[in-house]
């Protein structure tokens, strides 16, 4: 199931879609599944399951620490696929966000097949650009999987054209020049980037990196089709590490706040 459905539905409601991220295996595999399902319940329209990786160059301290904890507990690529299966079963489109080497190691075709079999919608690839992705593009196209590549404030118009032409599902616009992590102020680079991206494509444009509150979500939703939130969810779970029920309750409250935000724009 493509994420396009979720974006269309949100568009029909006259609002932006809320895209929520957690790495698989955090705080543990079953706890992560429960947390992602709570986020679905409380209003996420699309779920991103992160594949914990030893060398996450695009992630700030919050997501790094969560991924490292998951790896230290022995999370495997197959656990990520199991997480996808459990979340996709809710009917909410679910994609995997992954650095490239784990996919290459698993086997690009085999990964695409197992992801499709798990009900996954596709992949977000933070360190794979379309010009180095012929294998993934072929594997994804053969199975109707979404290919979500990133555009950045530093992307030239040519790069944006090349990238959006290769995307399926939506386009991921990184709002800041920097790594993941909640920020106090939203970025003034995001708006112009979304505008440049729209000139190149009719695909929905999601904006990520830094959003952590309903007010920030509302601001981003005023110009983007999707608001992507990651570190704020991770931090919320982290802050309630000793008390799972309280963590889930806090995750719900955060999701509701963000879901209200994307409807307020």
């Amino acid at each position: 199931m493509s994420v396009a459905i979720a974006f269309e539905k949100a568009r029909a409601d006259g609002r932006a879609a809320l895209v929520g991220y957690l790495p698989a295996g955090f705080p543990d595999v079953d706890g992560g599944i429960e947390a992602l399902r709570a986020m679905v319940d409380a209003g996420c329209d699309v779920i991103e399951v992160g594949l914990p990786y030893s060398d996450p160059v695009m992630d700030g301290p919050t997501i790094q620490a969560a991924a490292q904890q998951a790896l230290e507990q022995g999370v495997r690529t197959t656990d990520v696929l199991r997480t996808v299966e459990a979340v996709a079963a809710t009917g909410t489109p679910t994609v995997v966000m992954t650095y490239w080497n784990p996919v290459e190691r698993y086997g690009v075709d085999r990964f695409a097949q197992d992801l499709a079999d798990a009900g996954g919608a596709g992949l977000i690839t933070p360190d794979l650009t379309p010009d180095f992705a012929p294998e993934w593009v072929a594997a994804a196209d053969a199975r109707d999987l979404d290919k979500i590549f990133l555009v950045a404030p530093s992307s030239t118009d040519e790069r944006i054209a090349l990238t959006t032409a290769a995307c399926r599902g939506f386009v991921y616009a990184t709002a800041v020049m920097g790594v993941t992590g909640a920020r106090d102020a939203t970025s003034d680079l995001a708006g112009p980037l979304v505008e440049r991206t729209r000139r190149a494509t009719d695909l929905p444009v999601g904006v990520g990196l830094g959003v952590s509150t309903g007010d920030q979500a509302a601001e981003v939703a005023s110009y983007a089709d999707g608001v992507i939130v990651g570190s704020a969810f991770v931090r919320t779970l982290h802050d309630h590490a000793g008390d799972r029920a309280a963590g889930l309750a806090a995750l719900r409250r955060l999701t509701e706040d963000l879901a209200a935000g994307v409807r307020r724009a």
């Binding site: 990786y53 030893s54 060398d55 996450p56 160059v57 695009m58 700030g60 301290p61 790094q64 490292q68 790896l71 495997r76 690529t77 490239w100 080497n101 784990p102 996919v103 290459e104 190691r105 698993y106 933070p126 360190d127 794979l128 650009t129 010009d131 180095f132 012929p134 294998e135 590549f149 990133l150 555009v151 950045a152 404030p153 530093s154 992307s155 030239t156 790069r159 990238t163 990184t174 800041v176 020049m177 920097g178 790594v179």
Partner: protein, 412 residues
């Protein structure tokens, strides 16, 4: 003639879409693509600009002490039963081949109008070289160094600080070189408009492997010329240690067009490849992507990078430059592991026979060459002595139990 160079996308050994995927490329966040393109363009321009070439040559000569000499190691040769020539990169300013690379990249930084450089460092050699180039050219400098390494190499931290650089201990992941690279890349994503990343070895995303080679290839070009002058012919074999691969590729490049010259790269075998505690990436790793390039990587079944181990911090890296992957896969060069113990023995041997204390990295090349000499008796073997051992005295002190007047003698 076979080409061992990269194509325009940075692929060694065949473009994407070939039956076997090439090595190298650029597996990087989109946010950094513009910067890598900018660097590529500036470098391409500099390559054909005689002013740049002249400036670089002058700097190497008048500041770094290049060309380094080719030295005939008579007593070591007697010991080995082969004629051994040492390319004395240990005599360069700051004590290693690394100064060539950083001077080239720092000059390029000036050309691009950037005021700040960042670098990663393991042992601290590249960090010291970067801090040196930054001081000389008036650039601001931040060096990322794994917290474990800042403790192992406190003296080099002090050198960098004395040279005016900021040293940032990296506390993420395994807190060693690979994590320092991650942290430098994270800095770069956020600072790319005014900052250049001085990458420390011939690895990473395109254009770094080719760019770094262009600045260190003097090693091989000089050695080839010097060997012809000294012996009237080419060496039978050449050898270098391989961490990320810059000193090795710098030497090898001068001889790739001479098929009669055998090429050996010696990787860090740590406690022995069979123990799993090593940094022998080509000998014991698998194809994968790390830090922007497809190459050999020490990794587990799931593609998670595995920590490397070596007594030599400069070889302690779980990846390797993609051109080496290509040279290994194509059979042009042989890559073999050398253990900690073999390297330390060679360090002591070189000290005792020639009065030269090599860096432990370079001692790997010497040890491997001694092994090769057993099958190549009477032949001429040219070794890159990539650096000097001053920085390694702490390790040597511990390994050999030195430092006490009545202590045991190394190598005895």
């Amino acid at each position: 003639m076979t080409t061992y160079d990269a194509d325009a996308q940075g692929w060694f050994g065949g473009p994407a879409g070939a039956t076997t995927p090439g090595w190298g490329g650029r597996f990087m966040p989109e946010a950094l693509i513009a910067a890598l393109d900018e660097l590529d363009t500036a470098w391409q321009k500099a390559l054909v600009d005689p002013t740049f070439g002249h400036e670089f040559d002058q700097l190497l000569q008048n500041y770094a002490g290049v060309p380094s000499m080719l030295y005939e190691a008579h007593r070591l040769s007697d010991h080995a039963g082969a004629r051994i020539l040492l390319k004395r990169e240990d005599l360069n300013h700051t004590g290693a081949h690394k100064i060539r690379n950083v001077l080239g990249q720092a000059l390029l930084t000036k050309r691009m109008g950037k005021k700040r450089v960042i670098a990663e460092t393991g042992a601290g050699q590249h960090g010291v070289a970067s801090a040196t180039a930054a001081a000389y050219l008036g650039l601001e400098c931040t060096v990322y160094m794994g917290e474990v390494d800042t403790e192992r190499q406190a003296l080099n931290v002090a050198r960098m600080q004395l040279l005016g650089a900021e040293v940032v201990p990296v506390t993420s992941g395994s807190r060693t070189l690979k994590d320092a690279i991650n942290e430098a890349l994270r800095d770069w994503v956020a600072s790319v408009d005014h900052t250049a990343y001085l990458f420390g070895t011939a690895a990473g995303p395109h254009p770094f492997p080719s760019l770094v080679l262009s600045f260190v290839r003097g090693i091989g070009d000089e050695a080839r010329r010097q060997c012809l002058e000294l012996t009237g012919r080419l060496p039978d074999a050449i050898a270098a240690c391989v961490g990320g691969g810059s000193n090795a590729i710098g030497l090898f490049a001068g001889f790739l067009g001479d098929p009669e010259v055998a090429i050996y790269g010696f990787e860090a075998g740590g406690d022995g490849v069979e123990t799993g505690r090593h940094a022998a990436t080509i000998s014991a790793g698998a194809a994968g992507v790390l830090h922007g390039a497809r190459t050999f990587v020490l990794q587990d079944e799931d593609g998670q990078t595995v920590e490397s181990h070596s007594i030599s911090a400069g070889l302690d890296y779980p990846g390797v430059g993609p051109q080496h992957a290509h040279l290994a896969a194509s059979g042009r060069a042989s890559y073999l592991p050398v253990t900690d113990a073999e390297a330390m023995e060679a360090m002591a041997l070189l000290a005792r026979t020639e009065g030269i204390i090599p860096a432990i990295e370079s001692a790997h090349a010497v040890a491997g060459t001694l092994r090769v000499a057993r099958e190549r008796q009477g032949e001429t073997l040219l070794v890159n002595l990539s650096g000097r051992g001053d920085k390694d005295m702490g390790t040597a002190l511990e390994w050999f139990g030195l430092g006490r007047p009545d202590g045991p003698e190394a190598g005895s």
